[in-house]
């Protein structure tokens, strides 16, 4: 069995409101899967269903072959997953080592965590009170607590939010190392750069549905095209004509044009009277912008 997570036609309703509206996707073992989407898209609800802490209305969700809706299976799933929730918080008067030790104790057996603390640069802070740590350090303690029992699947809900760029890159390295050790990682993030860099597959959720699902490269190719051109036009009336010929997005006094091939790029540059031009390679951010209609990082 290569699938770590299989979700089929999953629905979660609150009255008439569908927080999750018939989504289906598969996460393979050993890969990094990122679920992106604006606030309220249904990402957290989906993750919580997979973590067996929230029930669902209909459909099917399986983690490592276990059915999340069955209490006996849920007990097995909880032993095999590690979870970092958004804004990780814990008993604030405990020391770092005690927090990680507490979570290790919840899984039975003896779990060494010195290496984990060291790899997250927490060794020197193990006797510091959790409450005295910075937001980034707290998040690292949350990551350590999520993987202390060597889980097969790690759910990381916005693991780098609030971290400085240096710490963010440390966490990225750490996630990559986890993948190298065969762990399956289910990630949500607001940082498109992070998702594009780390993910094997990406699902974009919007209003409870999966709006796009593929590898980052294919998503960019499908939605972003070959190049994107940002133009500041001399004559604003030209914008309407360009929009007829190409996919465009308006932003302030500039227009972004998505080009599918180099011939179109040449034609645009020759035929358009512009004040300023910038030619770029599309990114996941462009995909998100086109699929969801808003920029997640703004």
């Amino acid at each position: 069995m290569d699938e770590a997570i299989v979700v089929g036609s999953l629905v979660k309703r609150y009255g008439s409101f569908a927080a999750v509206d018939g989504i289906s996707f598969t996460v393979n073992k050993g890969e990094i899967f990122s679920l992106l989407g604006p606030n309220g898209a249904g990402k957290t609800t989906t993750i919580e269903i997979l973590e067996c802490i929230r029930s669902y209305t209909s459909g099917d969700a399986r983690v490592l072959g276990y059915d999340v809706s069955k209490p006996r299976d849920a007990r097995e799933i909880k032993k095999l997953i590690g979870v970092l929730p958004q804004d990780f918080s814990t008993f604030e008067n405990l020391k770092v080592g005690e927090v990680v030790g507490f979570f290790a104790g919840l899984y039975g057996g003896k779990h060494e965590y010195d290496d984990i603390l060291q790899s997250l640069d927490l060794s020197n802070d193990r006797n510091k009170k959790f409450d005295d740590l910075s937001g980034g350090m707290k998040q690292k303690v949350g990551i350590a607590s999520a993987i202390v029992h060597e889980p097969e699947i790690v759910f990381l809900d916005e693991p780098t939010t609030g971290l400085d760029p240096g710490s963010r890159r440390e966490v990225w390295k750490f996630i990559t190392r986890l993948k190298e050790r065969g762990k399956t990682i289910f990630l949500t993030t607001h940082y498109m750069e992070e998702a594009q860099l780390l993910s094997d597959h990406i699902g974009i959720m919007n209003r409870g549905k999966i709006a796009a699902l593929d590898t980052p490269q294919r998503l960019i190719a499908q939605y972003g095209g070959c190049k994107k051109v940002e133009l500041k036009l001399k004559d604003e009336s030209l914008a309407a004509k360009i929009s007829q010929d190409f996919e465009t997005v308006r932003k302030n006094d500039k227009i972004t044009v998505y080009i599918k091939n180099t011939r179109d790029l040449n034609r645009l540059m020759v035929e358009t009277d512009y004040e300023d031009i910038e030619v770029m390679t599309p990114t996941l951010e462009d995909v998100f912008l086109k699929v969801v209609g808003i920029n997640l990082e703004e």
């Binding site: 929230r54 029930s55 909880k78 997953i81 929730p85 919840l106």
Partner: protein, 419 residues
């Protein structure tokens, strides 16, 4: 054994929070100190009073008025200060008391002629009593008395009657000045009246027929602090149980900690057992610290036994169950705290933990039977102070039933899965 991990972290969490430790352990000690000193009459144990003796002859107090003041002094209840006879008693006492904040003063004035009028009245009463006694004896036993003796007795009766006619029975009035709001004045007035009645009786040749003797209902005599100590322990074990679990659960839920725990193999039962174990340990610590403190400060000898530990454990379970109900039903910390307050504080006063329910109106006494804390206080009082086995078994039995009901509802109320 995951509940031991929960116990370890929740106890450390409590122990490392100075504010929580203060309200759990030190605040009850402060309250015990206040109750002990304010309500139990610890301190000098006397009521101060000014006495102005105006019954003075040639600058010296008359023997009878001095004897009366001595008798008041020997009660050991009044702390007497004398006011010179020639001054205005009210102004004098006011001046002496003006440098004492919030103090009331009481004045007893013994009037001029106290001795003469008292003795004259007593003499007249004795003459009349003697005349009545002889007269009734003569009429009841006339047939057994020789005629000559009867004539002599009748002559004597005539003489007695003429003496009695010249003697006047008057009233001697002592004046007692006090503030109507001064509760200690009641004590002083009671002592003054008791001593005056004893003097009345002695002066007319009476003797005490009805006497009272103080005996304790218990093997050893009890002080007021003996009453307050178990009540305060019960009240604070209750508040720790209710507020501890209500606030902990609501706060951890608000900060997402419960959500994080839900995704681990930790079960609801482990979580509840661990938290209750923490509360039991805190409850036992509180009990032992309060008992030790009461012994050191008030010399209260309350020796805990196995039943004490059992009572504390069952009490903690009962009130932790109530805390779990509040924490489970209400999501936010503020609302659950307010709900806990609304329930806990009336219970403290209605249960008889602080004041005997016998002092309450009948309707409130009836309500106290439906207050869980009543049985916890009574159980602790029985096991710590009175050592009354019937009381221990009865109250612990009812408390156990309450604990089972509360913990049952509490386990149901605590949500271990999101909706």
């Amino acid at each position: 054994m995951k509940f031991l991990s929960v116990f370890s972290v929740t106890f450390k969490q409590w122990f490392r929070s100075p504010a929580t430790v203060f309200f759990s352990i030190l605040f009850p000690l402060v309250l015990l100190l206040i109750f002990g000193f304010v309500f139990a009459g610890i301190g000098s144990g006397t009521t101060s009073i000014y006495i102005q003796n105006q019954d003075v002859v040639n600058g010296t107090s008359t023997p009878l008025s001095s004897a009366y003041i001595d008798a008041l002094n020997h009660t050991n209840v009044l702390d007497i200060s004398l006011i010179p006879s020639g001054v205005d008693a009210r102004s004098y006492a006011q001046n002496l008391s003006s440098n004492q904040f919030f103090s009331s003063y009481r004045i007893l004035i013994i009037p001029p002629g106290f001795q003469n009028e008292t003795l004259a009245s007593a003499y007249a009463i004795r003459l009349n009593t003697t005349y009545d006694t002889l007269n009734s004896t003569l009429s009841d036993f006339a047939q057994f008395i020789p005629p000559n003796d009867t004539a002599i007795i009748q002559a004597g009766l005539g003489a007695l009657k003429s003496y009695a006619a010249n003697a006047t029975v008057g009233n001697v009035t002592l004046t007692f000045l006090s503030d109507p709001s001064d509760t200690n004045a009641l004590i002083a007035r009671g002592i003054i009246n008791s001593v005056a009645m004893a003097f009345n009786s002695q002066l007319v040749g009476g003797s005490s027929v009805i006497n009272t003797q103080d005996q304790s209902l218990n093997a050893r005599s009890l002080t007021s602090v003996d009453y307050y100590l178990p009540g305060l322990i019960a009240a604070f074990v209750m508040t720790n149980g209710i507020f501890g679990l209500t606030n902990i659960t609501a706060d951890l839920r608000k900060r997402g900690v419960i959500r994080r725990l839900l995704s681990t193999p930790l079960t609801k039962l482990d979580w509840i057992l661990g938290n209750i174990l923490t509360q039991v340990v805190i409850g036992l610590m509180l009990t032992l610290v309060m008992i030790l403190f009461a012994f050191l400060v008030f010399r209260v000898v309350a020796i805990p036994d196995a039943f004490t530990l059992l009572a504390v454990a069952i009490g903690v379970v009962a009130f932790s169950g109530l805390g779990m109900i509040f924490g489970g039903l209400v999501k936010n910390v503020e609302t659950s705290s307010a709900l806990a307050n609304v329930v806990a504080f009336p219970m403290m006063f209605l249960s008889g933990s602080f004041f005997p329910t016998g002092l309450y109106p009948p309707i409130i006494q009836s309500i106290s039977y439906f207050i869980p804390l009543t049985y916890f206080s009574n159980a602790l009082r029985s096991t710590l102070i009175t050592k009354d086995m019937t009381g221990i078994v009865f109250n612990l039995g009812i408390l156990s039933v309450i604990a089972m009901v509360f913990i049952g509802i509490g386990v149901w109320a605590i949500r271990w899965k999101e909706n």
